[in-house]
Amino acid sequence: MYWEPEYETMGKDEREQLQLERLQSTLRRVYLNVPFYRKKFDEVGIDPDDFTSLSDLRKLPFTTKNDLRDNYPYGLFAVPLREVVRIHASSGTTGMSTVVGYTRNDIKTWSNLVARILTAGGITKDDVVQIAFGYGLFTGGHGLHYGAERIGASVIPISSGNTRRQVKIMQDFKTTALICTPSYALLIADTIQELGININSLSLKYGLFGAEPWSEGMRQEIQERLKIMATDNYGLSEVMGPGVAGECLERNGLHISEDHFIVEVVDPNTLEAVAPGGVGELVITTLTKEAFPVIRFRTRDLTRLMQEPCPCGRTLMRMSRVMGRTDDMLIIRGVNVFPSQIEAILCDIEGTEPHYQIVVERKGALDAATVLVEVSEAIFFDEMKKQNELIDLIRKRLAAELGISVDVKLVEKKTLERFEGKARRVIDNRML
């Protein structure tokens, strides 16, 4: 099932033509309307009229989150405010918030692109969709809401929080599709279990999860515990919000809407393109945004691109699930460590729960990392010997994967903090 087959299954040749047309006109518009980009292009001596091929994109400077902050709130808008019909902002948990705007056409395009990923994830107009993303300045709630309405599904805009109520509504309203963060899906699964509800009595069939990195193991667990098909989707407010990319039911990589976004993957240190298929930072250029176009925006998300054709028939290139953020990347004793690597290992080991926390401290001159892992009651109350065996196993697997040794502590189920939005997995006490 496709939402816009003419674009989702377009030939490479045709798509590149469309991309070039849209890139050229986008560059001309930002040069004309956004002083920030004009200055930046002039500094490196680039005239948008000189653009003749997609590979010319590499000559352009990057745009970073800091550029967005420096131009807070409206400095990067490419249209006057009276043409903007919606304003969203990032949460600002990592500093000053960034503001993005949408024209009427932008909202329409956004709804369509979200409709694409919902359709790819199995949703049709017959579904009852419970959207447990926050509604508000965060793009998650409204973005998915408009897309689900565009398809014609019955949308429950419940927003996040009040998990027991989520479960009650899920039961009473016969929700068939759940949309939230993967960690919240697990919290909902926990609550369903606590309330003693038989999962088979619910109508759930599909789940679309995003807004934070998660692992294949976590997908398996969500699928088994909620009895659904779980797909991953990707987006960020600076670029548009959800709907930039999403998985089809093959569940092997997220199809990028390449007719609206040009993506590159670069090494976060050298900023050079990585070898085809290599892991690096995702960089996005928008092709159709009117109010808030971005040119070569550094997402700080780590992924790799998959050019191979997908059995679903979409010709849109895929990206792997986000493996972490360049700024989540921990440097422990000089080694790059991503929380997602640790998560993948924990999900693989029997007896552990996918709830964990990484605490990094400095002892003397050395970094010391401790991984706190929740374990099932059976193991926690079991004899010391078994606990020690498990600790040993986890420690060995982590050392083999990460290349450094870390401490492991087992904690009782539900002692680690639960998150309704994005999970916070790392506590860095090093005061670097």
Binding site: Q17, E21, S25, R28, R29, E83, R104, N105, K108
Partner: protein, 245 residues
């Protein structure tokens, strides 16, 4: 069907088109809108080989037609309905149509001309009534129909129209645009150039906005109609003034 990349063209030392990139797919109506002097007509003339291009590529059915003569381009299936109709006034309607058939004429049987003429008369009953009349005595709307029919006589794959609504009464414009939609529905591909942006976008599938020789916007026709820049610049709506009232 038609794919243009980084096309540059102009007259003498004057550059009119600056790296124009656009395409038309089979069965679409694509509108190019833009103010006077934006380069719309030059673009059409460049496609037809009437204006020499400086750089870039024009692929028609994957074949580069930049170096071809106008006759061979028409023969490949790319016809132009020129600005201001340009019918042959001292000739009859029927003769005008037969001239349109000219590129297909060589080595073929006259019966085919007859079949094509019948097809045109079916599409434009008014022309059938007036087939013996001199083209110069037709009304503006009828002349426009004749110009379109004449272009269709060569059985083009792509029909390009330059300002078909120019100088026509609003009711007649409506008829002409209805014909364009009908042509598309029958499987033709149309490139439409218009100053009457609203009418052009309301029948088109997609559109491009051309400004001082550059394409500054591409999109579905309905999205372009909703774009406020387009509304202000090409649809003659002054939104700020409207707000004040």
């Amino acid at each position: 069907m038609l794919r243009i990349k980084n096309l540059q063209a102009g007259y003498g030392r004057l550059t009119v088109l600056r790296k124009v990139t656009m395409h038309i797919s089979f069965g679409e109506i694509v509108s190019i809108i833009g103010a006077n002097g934006a380069g719309k007509t030059t673009l059409l003339k460049a496609i037809c080989g009437l204006v020499r291009t400086r750089d870039g590529e024009i692929l028609f059915d994957r074949r580069d037609i930049r170096a071809l003569s106008t006759e061979s381009i028409v023969k490949l299936g790319c016809s132009l309905v020129p600005e201001g109709r340009q019918v042959f006034a001292p000739m009859t309607v029927r003769e005008n149509l037969v001239l349109g058939w000219y590129v297909q004429y060589r080595g073929r049987h006259g019966d085919e001309v007859k079949r094509e003429l019948d097809r045109m008369f079916e599409l434009f009953p008014r022309l059938k009534e007036r087939q013996k009349q001199l083209a110069g005595t037709l009304s503006g709307g009828e002349q426009q129909m004749l110009a379109i029919a004449r272009a269709l006589m060569s059985k083009p794959k792509l029909i390009m129209m330059d300002e078909p609504s120019m100088g026509l009464a609003p009711l007649v414009v409506k008829d002409i645009f209805a014909i364009i939609v009908r042509l598309r529905d029958e499987g033709n591909t149309v490139l439409l150039i218009e100053q009457n942006a609203k009418a052009a976008l309301s029948v088109a599938d997609r559109g491009y906005v051309l400004e001082t020789g550059r394409i500054i916007l591409e999109g579905r026709a309905e999205d372009l109609l909703a774009n406020r820049d387009v509304q202000r610049a090409y649809l003659g709506r002054d939104l700020d003034a409207e707000v004040k009232i």
